[in-house]
């Protein structure tokens, strides 16, 4: 139940409380009331339709790079 997924902000809607995010090509409208200063291009952790934190892109990229390398090495 505490599952979360990372998604990229592609559009912020008018009232600033909602945004459209892209998760693996799927576009979804989510609530961003809990996030300070959200901007297009940010990565957010989404849970139950609500963004619960901004993901530190640099840290995330490093982890993603490691995963990518492991995947490539295994394929």
């Amino acid at each position: 139940m505490c599952l979360g997924y990372p998604a990229k902000v592609v559009e912020i809607l008018k009232d600033g409380k909602k945004a459209i995010v892209d998760y693996l090509g799927l576009k979804k409208t989510i609530n961003v009331s809990l996030i300070k200063e959200v901007a297009v291009g940010d990565y957010l952790l989404i849970h139950s339709g609500v963004a619960i934190e901004k993901i530190d892109e640099k840290e995330a990229e490093e982890i993603e790079k490691l995963f990518g390398e492991v995947r490539d090495a295994n394929s």
């Binding site: 979360g4 989510i30 809990l34 619960i52």
Partner: protein
């Protein structure tokens, strides 16, 4: 290949650390999503003889009492519409689950998000939102109540069975279980921050806040074994890309605005003082008070309680795999995808 070597180095360092400690470690993961990641990625076999993984009571579905389900079904019979996360559907009540009640015509709707649910509730619907979850999910319920207030909806109520992580963890560590280290729930920590888990340090047990990918788990085990070697009881954070020291302060303020502590029943641990959250009295008009007998779990052969307190492995339960499967769950630990019995059933190589 460089990275594979890196991964192997981490695995070997973890094993070397454990050899230096000189015994098999008992490590408890509190969150069900960690349980799944550990079993799906085969860490229980990779570290066999080195680490005995124990699943704690951090899955809100698994610790939900069947009486809560019975109450929701009763309310559905009284012409209310129940909005629930899909996870709860198969949890057995005394006579049936929400899924069975739905099949018999009860008005039970699955919600993806309580905030979205409130937007779509019809005016003539007497809606009850099944509010189940730990601190990760509580802000979503707070936002949905805010929306109810904004829209001045009179036909929406919350059936709160919300849980907090600190009280059960304190009781588990104090009275129920002896472990060498803790893997702390990354998404509860996203809300509460590293600071929200500082209380663990008082128990003199090393701990680490972890993400959920396989690399996260490995780095967390590395950190944890190092802390055990060093007798270092500081809460470590290996999920820095998401978890901040102070947590999500906006979310915490939302929780504090709408909710207050209450006693709560945890399957496996019993009634825990301050273990739950209810709506503050000024919002009582939006709350449905549920009452049920905490001590009566109808299926006495179900050993969920012992599984949740690390006394028993899922396969040691007499019902496991014989009559209790993810298709026909007898206890909540088999229902949820994040339950330890369910994870063992799907990924465990216990045979």
């Amino acid at each position: 290949m460089q990275t594979l070597e890196k991964v192997n180095t981490i695995i070997n360092t973890i094993k070397n650390n454990i050899e230096k400690i000189g015994r098999q470690l008992r490590i408890i993961e509190v969150c069900g999503t960690h349980t799944v990641s550990i079993y799906r990625n085969g860490f229980h076999t990779l570290f066999k003889g080195y680490i005995d993984f124990i699943s704690g009571p951090g899955c809100p579905v698994c610790v939900t009492h069947e009486g809560y389900i019975d109450n929701l079904i009763e309310l559905a019979k009284m012409n209310h519409t129940i909005y629930t996360f899909g996870d709860l559907l198969k949890v057995p009540g005394k006579s049936m689950s929400l899924a069975e009640a739905k099949a018999k015509g009860a008005k039970i709707k699955i919600m993806y998000s309580p905030v979205d649910a409130v937007e779509n509730i019809a005016e003539d619907e007497e809606a009850i939102i099944a509010a189940v979850g730990f601190e990760t999910t509580v802000p979503a319920f707070a936002l949905s109540l805010e929306k109810v207030l904004e829209k001045d909806l009179k036909n929406v109520k919350f059936a709160c069975e919300l849980k907090t992580i600190d009280q059960p963890l304190k009781i588990l560590l104090k009275d129920h279980i002896k472990v060498d280290g803790l893997i702390l729930p990354g998404h509860v920590a996203t809300i509460l921050g590293v600071d929200g888990f500082k209380f663990v340090e008082e128990f003199g047990i090393p701990s680490v806040i972890s993400g959920f990918e396989k690399y996260d788990i490995l780095l967390s085990l590395l950190s944890l074994t190092q802390s055990i070697l060093d007798n270092d009881f500081t809460v470590k954070n290996e999920y820095k890309r998401v978890v901040k020291k102070e947590g999500n302060t906006v979310a915490i303020r939302y929780i504090e605005r709408f909710f207050e502590r209450t006693d709560a029943y945890f399957r496996g641990l019993g009634l825990i003082e301050g273990g739950g959250l209810r709506l503050k009295s000024e919002y009582s008009a939006f709350s449905i008070q549920l009452e049920y007998d905490y001590d009566s779990l109808s299926n006495s052969a179900c050993r969920c309680a012992d599984v949740l307190t690390g006394k028993l492995k899922p396969f040691e339960c007499p019902l496991f795999e014989r009559v209790c499967t993810p298709q026909t769950p007898k206890g909540a630990c088999m229902v949820s995808q994040e339950g330890s019995c369910n994870a063992y059933f799907r990924f465990g190589k216990w045979k």
